[in-house]
């Protein structure tokens, strides 16, 4: 385009970002929340809150399976972990190739008593997670394609943003708000630059994950969940077909006493606790126990990166399912990016770090859209197109947060036994969002922002209170705490925005100390020197 590289990149940055801005904000926001998908789903199933992990959680699961499905060919017991408070059991009668039961049945149990907790019907964190990459109420290929296009625009936005702002790295820490409150451009630049490695990684890896849909001519990727991962898949059952009826009826051997020593041996071997036990042919002499734990240290292996240990019916270790490793560098790199994006490997610290970076990314997109409007406000006020963008901005950004808050609130307020309640929770989300978009179009000024941001702030910051009041267990467990804390943080950010909106950008009186600083406050953050009218004839 005519003009310097900086001007071209500014144009490209502005237009690729703003056009994608609203969907992108939704993707970023739901994606960041989806890092805590398991915690959200747990929070949204209060019936599960009564469960507390205990030393004999494994035995409790075993006992349930013994009563419920003694003839099953395979049992699986998932123990409470850092991200789950209940025992999840599943059982399967046929093998994978048998007709009887292709899908395992499952239950969630109280980890201390083994009671079958029947959690309320809810989409939980999975709604947000799926929305993040395939949106809603449209064929999967369409949703993924839209998300993919928008993600590509984001990648272009980031790269062009870096090129146009090359000098930023010299003045990097230089952000000095004139008033004590950040200006929109300060916020935008900060949020972008501070987590730049993350933004690049998450966008690029996101594109890779959608590669199956975006590059239909390329192999058999097959959309989400079907990327080519490295290593041989771990064997999980799949024995040759056995004739079920011909076995003589033998008394069921209760192996529950073996569980504790087996788990102890495995966790001693790895240094981490066991999180899952799969029992094949339970109750027989040839029963085998395959245990796995959170012992992943590699991301390049992809999803098969944990190693498992196999024990026999006498409690002796008979083999080790090694962790698969990537067969070549290409797949190692690919898997690394895949795993990074989905954070399946992440422990508490890592997950919070990713969440922090995700929040910065969400802020980056949100402040960008707001900045675009602010910059053009003087010149374009009153023009239809501009007013449309200005109004929709409110609903797309603040309104989305209100909708998410409403979704969480509806989970506790809609009766647990109401029919189709999970559909209703999702409806509440969309109705709230639509209402906010309409409200934003009607009230397009600062007050419109103020109302919706304040509503979002209230919804989020009061969630812990709602949690305590509407859960059968008052005091939150660790998982609920994660959710409650994350929501409070989001609430605080919203309140900060409310304060900023109330002050209306008038500079506060400088404190005496600020006046004494040598030259500090006169240094403006670097801005692109281009004109506001960034349309350039090509």
């Amino acid at each position: 385009m005519k003009g310097s590289l900086r001007q071209s990149m500014t144009w490209l940055h502005t237009w690729s970002s703003i056009t994608a801005g609203w969907i992108l904000f939704a993707i970023f926001f739901t994606g960041t929340l989806a890092f805590f998908r398991a915690e959200i789903t747990h929070w949204m199933q209060p019936e599960l809150h009564v469960s507390t992990p205990s030393e004999n959680s494994a035995e409790v699961g075993y006992q349930y399976l013994l009563n419920k499905a003694p003839d099953a060919k395979e049992w699986s017991i998932s123990l409470p972990t850092e991200r789950s408070e209940t025992v999840s059991v599943s059982w399967r009668y046929g093998n994978e190739r048998g007709r009887e039961q292709l899908f395992a049945q499952r239950s969630q149990l109280d980890a201390s008593t083994g009671e079958d907790l029947a959690p309320r019907d809810t989409a939980g964190g999975n709604f947000l997670y799926r929305f993040h990459f395939e949106l809603y109420a449209m064929p999967r290929w369409l949703g993924e394609t839209l998300v993919g296009i928008v993600s590509m625009m984001m990648l272009i936005g980031i790269v062009s943003g870096v090129i146009m702002h090359r000098k930023i790295f010299a003045d990097f820490f230089m952000f000095r708000p004139k008033k004590k409150l950040l200006s929109w451009i300060d916020g935008h630049v900060l949020a972008s630059v501070l987590a730049l490695p993350f933004h690049l990684m998450i966008t690029f890896s996101g594109l890779l994950l959608l590669g199956g849909t975006l590059l239909p001519w390329n192999g058999n990727g097959g959309g989400h969940g079907g990327p080519p991962e490295g290593g041989a898949p771990q064997e999980r059952g799949g024995r040759p077909a056995e004739v079920v009826n011909a076995e003589p009826i033998a008394p069921h051997i209760n192996h529950s006493a073996l569980l504790a020593p087996i788990m102890a041996k495995a966790s001693a071997h790895w240094g981490v606790p066991v999180d899952r036990i799969t029992i094949k042919n339970p109750g027989k002499e040839n029963t085998t126990f395959t245990v796995s734990g959170a012992n992943r240290v590699e991301l390049s292996a992809g999803r098969g990166g944990n190693s498992g240990l196999v024990f026999n019916a006498s409690g002796e270790r008979i083999s080790e399912d090694p962790a698969s490793t990537a067969p070549n560098t290409t797949q190692a790199v690919y898997n690394y990016m895949d795993m990074l994006h989905q954070a399946r490997f992440a422990d508490s610290v890592t997950r919070w770090l990713l969440f922090f970076a995700g929040i910065l990314g969400t802020l980056m997109v949100g402040t960008g859209s707001i900045l675009w409007v602010e910059k053009r406000a003087k010149k374009q006020l009153g023009l239809k197109g501009f007013e449309l963008v200005r109004g929709t901005n409110i609903g797309a950004i603040a309104g989305l947060m209100v909708a998410t808050g409403a979704y969480f609130w509806s989970n506790r307020l809609i009766p647990a036994d109401m029919a189709m309640r999970s559909d209703w929770e999702v409806r509440v989300f969309f109705i709230a969002w639509l209402a906010c978009v309409i409200a934003g179009l009607l009230r397009r000024d600062r007050m419109g922002w103020l109302w919706q941001t304040a509503a979002a702030a209230a919804l989020f910051s009061l969630l812990p209170v709602l949690d305590v009041v509407t859960s059968p267990v008052g005091v939150p467990d660790a998982l609920r705490m994660v959710f409650d804390v994350a929501c409070v943080l989001i609430g605080i950010l919203c309140w900060y925005a409310v304060v900023k909106l109330k002050n209306g950008g008038k500079p506060k009186r400088r404190s005496a100390a600020a006046n004494r600083k040598p030259d500090a406050d006169n240094m403006k953050p670097v801005r692109p020197r281009g004109r506001t009218k960034t349309e350039q004839p090509a």
């Binding site: 790269v159 590669g211 390329n218 990327p227 070549n328 290409t330 990016m337 090509a538």
Partner: protein, 94 residues
């Protein structure tokens, strides 16, 4: 072709089309080329092509927008595609 008289709107549209559509096509060809240059298993190839594609596509779009002259943009778009696809179809690398 005198592109000096083209209206700004048309010019930008043209540029966007070349960057997005031309870029997609060219990136496809280039990734296929790179993949053909190396021996690799099917799974590896799918992963490889995905990574190369998005890298190339990003660079391509940035490049198209960095070029000042619209005429150069047209030429670049056509030329890159012509060369890349010719190489792919000629099977020189497989």
């Amino acid at each position: 072709m005198n592109t000096g008289n083209v209206s700004p709107a048309t010019a930008i549209t043209l540029r966007v089309v070349i960057a997005v559509a031309g870029g997609y096509a060219a990136s496809t060809a280039i990734s296929l080329l790179f993949a053909a240059m190396n021996e690799m298993s099917d799974r590896q190839e799918v992963a490889f092509i995905r990574m190369v594609f998005f890298l190339v596509y990003t660079v391509y779009i940035i490049w198209i927008f960095a070029i000042n002259d619209l005429q150069k943009v047209l030429v670049t778009g056509l030329a890159t595609n012509a060369v890349a696809w010719a190489l792919v179809w000629s099977g020189v690398f497989s």
